[in-house]
């Protein structure tokens, strides 16, 4: 058993390394359990922590228990197992421990990748095999199908008559390999399912095709056993069903094989190396070897390796990776920095406070993982149906047998057996099996035509049930970069002059707000000149000499520094802030000259999309890390009433979860989330349907279920409309398929026999099956004419 195989391996409860007890650097006993350690440092830390303290537990087996336990490492869990906190004072010991950690991380990483690669490979292989099986089945099925149609033409039917048994015998021989090879998985799965008291789609396929083949073969071999008019053959039905269902499964598999590597990608975004100052010397270390308490140096353009607090220096940091906010944040001594954010302007040193598995980025990885794994599974409609359908058909078949046996004409046994099998044959899931995959194929294709990529059938099914959609603000609802919105000169200046001076002063600045002003000026056909002198004041703005005038452009602090009277600005600034805009004050020769305002504006079609969603009966919410005032302003412009503002990045997923439980309480109302940033990834994974804006990060795209290629929110409207249309279509198909079954089964059972003397004649059975399939395919094709409403035309 498993347990014996694992007996010899133990895991260091501190660092998570596998330890061979024979080579352990130390052992310790607690509560009757013996623990083995990779290094003396780990043992020391373990002994230092009291029983039940999280230090030991969190690193060795996340989420597994209160007390430290011995557990073999599993690749799934230990991707980020580096526990921080060895004291840098004990440098030698710490380094030893880190060699161990680095080694461990390496091994685990490799295992993880190997696992992903082999999963991808095996899926690709399964797809190829399925397609080969499909081609074989259709190579046999299509000629037989044509032959069957030929029988509908009376003249041809007559011509074929003498060869009827020969054709049947040949058909029986050529179709057997199709069932045995192409259809093998259905029979295996049905058998395994039956042994486990389960019936599913596969049971239905196996039952139907198997019954059809056996019935037809017996009709060929011993036609005399059959009552007159019932020696029909259904070989083509068996193989065509196998072929079509294989095709559907293969297509589904291909869609699925774009499996998620989001987590891997997220980790690749981490800085690889860190420059650490130890014993007064700068040393370059792999990021895994940075410990809490290390002093880390970051220069402009570099990534911050781990989380920490600035000790010295100041800079603007692009934290968009974690917060989603595109505008760099000014940081100075004492401010916290986030690992993987990009240092834009100045050099600084910081003290590492969180490393390895504790950093903000690592937490996001864990949250995505957690959210994906806690998504409730969605049973497919057709599988649910078949779990009732198969046993019901079996019961009807038995009842049919009993009725004929007790009340039927002689020979009773023959009649009873034939009608019983006929019931199973006509229940063959031709249309039932096709109902879902065909509509899905058409629906997903239709959505793709409109720039909406839906990952799988489940996402489509969920999208049709959305009643709440949460929109991320930055980059989703808005363009995600600041733009010049207002130019408000005070007396003595005109708009053009104010903007010309401000833009020229800002020209050399690398700050995105400055860039927005320069770009805005150019867009208004203003020539932006070169400043003669230029000083960027970090955290304040810029001062420059332009056209011989001293021009200052910046925030309140800059104005205060330049001793510019602010009284004239106050009212204007408050109004702009109310509109969610960032006012930049302009002073010329120490006189207040006006305000240029910059804001992250709405995408052109956001308002229409919100309106269209609401007209579909969907409640629209906005979520953002921004302050309430800015958030309200943007929401008002977009026409959104409910706003979740000041939500920290790692709380977004929790907000979604809260809305989901709120939705469940109100009767299964599903919640969708639309976002673009890495910080949105956990929320996208958590939501019932995650819509990733195609212009956003790869990680968000892979965490989402639906990708909006163009980046327009109208894609959400299209996705909902297409999915509703498709689901409606599937329901019609299932209904249609059922009608045929409900009509066909009684005929097969012989209900018409007392009145018309009619048993399951091949013509009726064949026509019913063909008609039901044609109906389903035709109905699914109706979806091709589906056109989403243009978002603007909302009544």
């Amino acid at each position: 058993m498993q347990a014996t195989a694992m007996k010899e391996e133990f895991v260091d409860p501190v660092c998570g390394m596998k330890v061979d007890p024979a080579r352990a650097a130390g052992t310790s006993e607690r509560e009757g359990v013996r623990y083995y350690f990779c290094s003396p440092v780990c043992k020391q830390k373990f002994d230092a922590a009291g029983p039940g303290e999280p230090v030991a537990q969190a690193s060795c087996c996340a989420g597994a228990g209160e007390a430290p336990v011995q557990m073999p490492a599993t690749p799934v869990q230990l991707t980020l197992t580096r526990k921080s906190s060895a004291a840098p004072a004990n440098l030698k010991g710490a380094q030893h421990a880190h060699e161990g950690h680095a080694h461990h991380a390496h091994v685990v990483g490799r295992q993880g990748q190997g696992h992903a690669a082999s999963a991808e490979e095996s899926q690709a292989e399964s797809y190829r095999t399925m397609m080969r099986k499909f081609r074989f089945a259709s190579a046999v099925g299509v000629p037989l199908l044509l032959l069957m149609f030929a029988e509908f033409v009376p003249d041809w039917r007559h011509a074929l008559m003498p060869y009827h048994r020969l054709v049947g015998a040949v058909s029986a021989v050529v179709t057997l390999p199709v069932l045995a090879w192409s259809g093998r998985q259905f029979f295996e799965s049905a058998w395994n399912g039956l042994r486990n008291h389960n019936t599913n789609m596969d049971t239905l396929v196996a039952f139907g095709t198997g019954a059809a083949w056996v019935y037809s073969t017996v009709a060929v071999v011993a036609p005399r056993l059959f009552p007159a008019g019932t020696t029909g053959m259904y070989f083509e039905v068996a193989v065509v069903v196998v072929a079509l269902i294989l095709l559907g499964q293969a297509l589904e598999l291909r869609a699925k094989s774009r499996s998620s590597t989001a987590l891997k990608k997220l980790l690749e975004l981490q800085a690889k190396a860190a420059r650490v100052i130890r014993d007064g010397k700068e040393i370059d270390l792999p990021v895994e070897e940075v410990v809490v308490g290390d002093t880390v140096l970051v220069r402009p353009g570099e990534k911050v390796p781990v989380d920490g607090v600035i000790i010295d220096g100041q800079s603007a940091l692009d934290e968009s990776i974690v917060t989603g906010e595109s505008v760099p944040v000014d940081k100075k001594q004492g401010d916290g920095v986030i690992g993987s954010s990009v240092n834009k302007t100045g050099a600084f040193t910081f003290r590492a406070t969180k490393v390895g598995a504790d950093t903000a980025l690592a937490r996001i990885v864990r949250m995505v993982e957690q959210a994906q794994s806690s998504k409730p599974p969605i049973g497919r409609l057709v599988d649910k149906v078949s779990s009732y359908f198969v046993p019901t058909v079996m019961i009807v078949a038995v009842l049919t047998f009993l009725a004929w046996f007790n009340f039927g004409p002689e020979p009773v046994v023959n009649h009873a057996v034939v009608t019983m099998v006929a019931v199973l044959v006509i229940a063959c899931p031709c249309a039932l099996g096709l109902a879902t995959p065909i509509s899905l194929m058409v629906g997903v294709g239709k959505a793709a035509e409109h720039g909406v990529l839906i990952r799988n059938g489940e996402a489509l099914e969920s999208a049709s049930k959305l009643r709440t959609v949460v929109l991320d603000k930055t980059g989703t609802l808005t363009k995600g970069r600041p733009e010049l919105t207002d130019v408000l000169p005070l007396a003595g200046f005109d708009e053009g002059e104010l903007l010309r001076l401000a833009a020229a002063a800002d020209r050399r600045s690398e700050h995105p707000l400055a860039a927005a002003i320069v770009e805005g000026a150019r867009a208004r056909a203003i020539e932006v000149g070169e400043p003669e002198q230029f000083v960027a004041v970090p955290g304040h703005g810029v001062e420059a000499t332009v056209e011989g005038k001293r021009v200052a452009v910046g925030n309140w602090k800059l104005m205060a520094r330049a001793k510019v009277s602010l009284s004239e600005f106050e009212e204007l600034a408050a109004r702009l802030a109310d509109d969610g805009k960032t006012p930049m004050f302009v002073a010329v020769d120490s006189q207040a000259a006006g305000i240029v305002a910059v804001a992250d504006t709405l995408k052109e079609d956001s308002v229409e999309a919100v309106k269209a969603l609401r007209s579909l009966g969907i409640e629209v919410l906005m979520i953002t890390g921004d302050n309430e005032r800015t958030a309200r302003a943007v929401a008002r412009q977009a026409g959104i009433e409910r706003v979740l503002a000041e939500v920290l990045p790692d709380e977004k997923a929790r907000e979604i979860e809260r809305l989901q439980s709120e939705g469940r309480a109100r009767g299964g109302r599903l919640v969708g989330m639309v976002g673009d940033g890495i910080n949105d990834a956990p929320a996208l994974a958590q939501a019932d349907v995650g819509f990733a804006v195609g212009t956003g990060t790869d990680v968000a795209i892979e965490a989402g279920d639906v990708t909006l290629v163009g980046g327009s929110l109208k894609g959400v409207v299209t996705a909902v409309e297409v999915s509703r249309a498709t689901l409606g279509n599937i329901r019609q198909n299932l209904f249609g398929a059922f009608v045929y079954n409900v009509l066909g089964i009684p005929v097969a059972a012989g209900v018409l026999y007392p009145v018309l003397g009619l048993l399951l004649s091949p013509i009726i059975a064949g026509a019913a099956m063909a008609a039901s399939s044609i109906t389903v395919v035709t109905n699914a094709n109706r979806l091709r004419f589906f056109e989403p409403r243009p978002g603007g035309e909302v009544k």
Binding site: E66, I378, M394
Partner: protein
Amino acid sequence: MTTTNIIVTLFGFGVIGWIVWYFWLWQGESVAAAGVAGGVQVVDVTVRGGYQPASIVAEAGRPLRLNFTRREASLCGEEVVLPDFGRRAHLPENQPVSLESLPREPGEYEFTCGMNMYKGKLIVR
């Protein structure tokens, strides 16, 4: 009605009763989790047309490890989900995959395949 008719009819209804019981009423036997060193409860679960065992009894408050092995080519059981514990895993064919959790509260928890077709029950006492 002859004796044969009566016997066959009764037999037929027996078959119907059996179908109803077998597919709709059947509840699997429970298997108790075995303990290993370190206080971890372990159960090996085979995935093949369903979960064997489909019903697992475990003790509350002790870490539980479920070793899933998918022994079929069919993709149905490819994913296993423990919704209440927020655990989901991909099961490659014939490769054991361990899922660990700490059941704290006594009660009945479900584990299912990715599409909610295979169902298993975890009874925590």
